[in-house]
């Protein structure tokens, strides 16, 4: 029934174009591989905003913090104690706190730009940006692991000791795949997929609701209103997901770094 209604709606007039992944490619200047796209501009904006905020809120740091300093200290303390110290351990977590904190706040601000009205573009819904962030994590945890024990022992440490000999090659292959392929792939795709899917969902409900209200009969106008209610609910949900994904990315980065630091995997 509803398919018929929507289908007939689509058949007459222009028809509703469902949003596709092509909506996310928005070059502002130039075209092709060197195009300056909307997410690039959003990313530059976010970096400027974060730098300004962090400098402004900590320049006159007081023992009794003001509002801005309280927010910054809360976020910093959350990453320093809640992620870095708990995951990496209290011995050498401090040198990774700057990396984790800047990663968290960069992802968080860029994700939140997905729902903040004048910008409304989650930077991480273009796969290049999560790949760049993942590359930093990837190089970091391999580098510290290899620097700590050397190349040969690093690969030897991948297999836990005390296994029967015939199973060692299998485990080694699995661990190599995990360390070099699965981990960076899932790290980048998780952030990308969540931001992409969430934004596509919002796009679908908002443009679909608008189309139904403008072009539909009375029943579809009501459904269009329902679609806007869903868009509102999903926006709230999206804000939750955006916080969660920034946290998860940082948490996993810390977990991988911690894995390279311990003696036995």
């Amino acid at each position: 029934m509803s398919l018929n209604v929507l289908g007939s709606l689509a058949a007459d007039g222009g028809g509703f174009q469902t949003p596709t992944s092509a909506e996310f490619y928005q070059p502002l200047w130039f075209d092709g591989p060197f195009a300056i796209t909307r997410p690039a501009v959003v990313l530059i904006l976010s970096v400027g905003l974060i730098a300004w905020w962090l400098i402004a809120s900590t320049r006159r740091a007081a023992v009794v913090p003001g509002k801005g300093q309280w927010v910054t200290e809360g976020l910093y303390g959350f990453i320093r104690n809640g992620v870095a110290r708990d995951i990496i351990g209290s011995k050498d977590f401090l040198r990774f706190v700057p990396l984790l904190f800047s990663m968290f706040i960069l992802i968080l601000v860029n994700n939140l730009f997905g729902v903040i009205p004048p910008i409304q573009y989650p930077t991480m819904s273009r796969i290049g940006f999560p790949i760049a962030l993942t590359l930093v994590v990837y190089i970091t945890y391999h580098y510290i692991g290899i620097k700590r024990v050397g190349v040969g022992p690093y690969f030897k440490h991948l297999v836990p000791s005390g296994l029967p000999g015939w199973i060692v090659p299998v485990i080694f292959a699995l661990e190599v795949i995990t360390f070099f392929i699965t981990r960076p792939l899932t790290l980048a795709l998780r952030l990308f997929g969540n931001m992409f899917a969430g934004h596509l969902l919002l796009l679908l409900f908002i443009t679909g609701g608008q189309y139904m209200i403008v072009n539909g009969g009375i029943g579809l106008k009501i459904a269009g209103g329902g679609s806007y209610v869903m868009a509102f609910v999903l926006t709230i949900f999206e804000i939750l997901i955006e916080f969660l994904q920034a946290y998860i990315f940082t948490l996993l980065a810390a977990t991988y770094i911690a894995g390279s630091l311990v003696d036995e995997h």
Partner: protein, 79 residues
């Protein structure tokens, strides 16, 4: 991708890869449910362990979710 009408209604056109995403979402859905059920159980039994359990639960959630994300991405890749 314009829908065409026949005498009985419409022919639904679309991308069957999206069905693959639906299938790939089943496993992670069950898995995430199990993870948070265990988390709730743990906190109910020992409320003071909440902070430690939370990061473990979210870590497990992130790992289980990866399969659904693969399905979503592949649904758009194989168009």
């Amino acid at each position: 991708m314009r829908d065409t009408k026949n005498e009985r209604g419409t022919i639904v056109k679309g991308n069957i890869a999206i069905l693959g995403y639906g299938l790939s979402a089943i496993g992670p859905g069950v898995g995430i449910g199990l993870i948070f059920a265990a988390y709730i159980n743990g906190v109910a039994r020992q409320p003071e362990a909440r902070g430690m359990l939370q990061s473990i639960a979210i870590l497990g959630f992130a790992l289980a979710e990866a399969l659904a994300i693969f399905g979503l991405v592949l649904a758009f890749v194989f168009k």
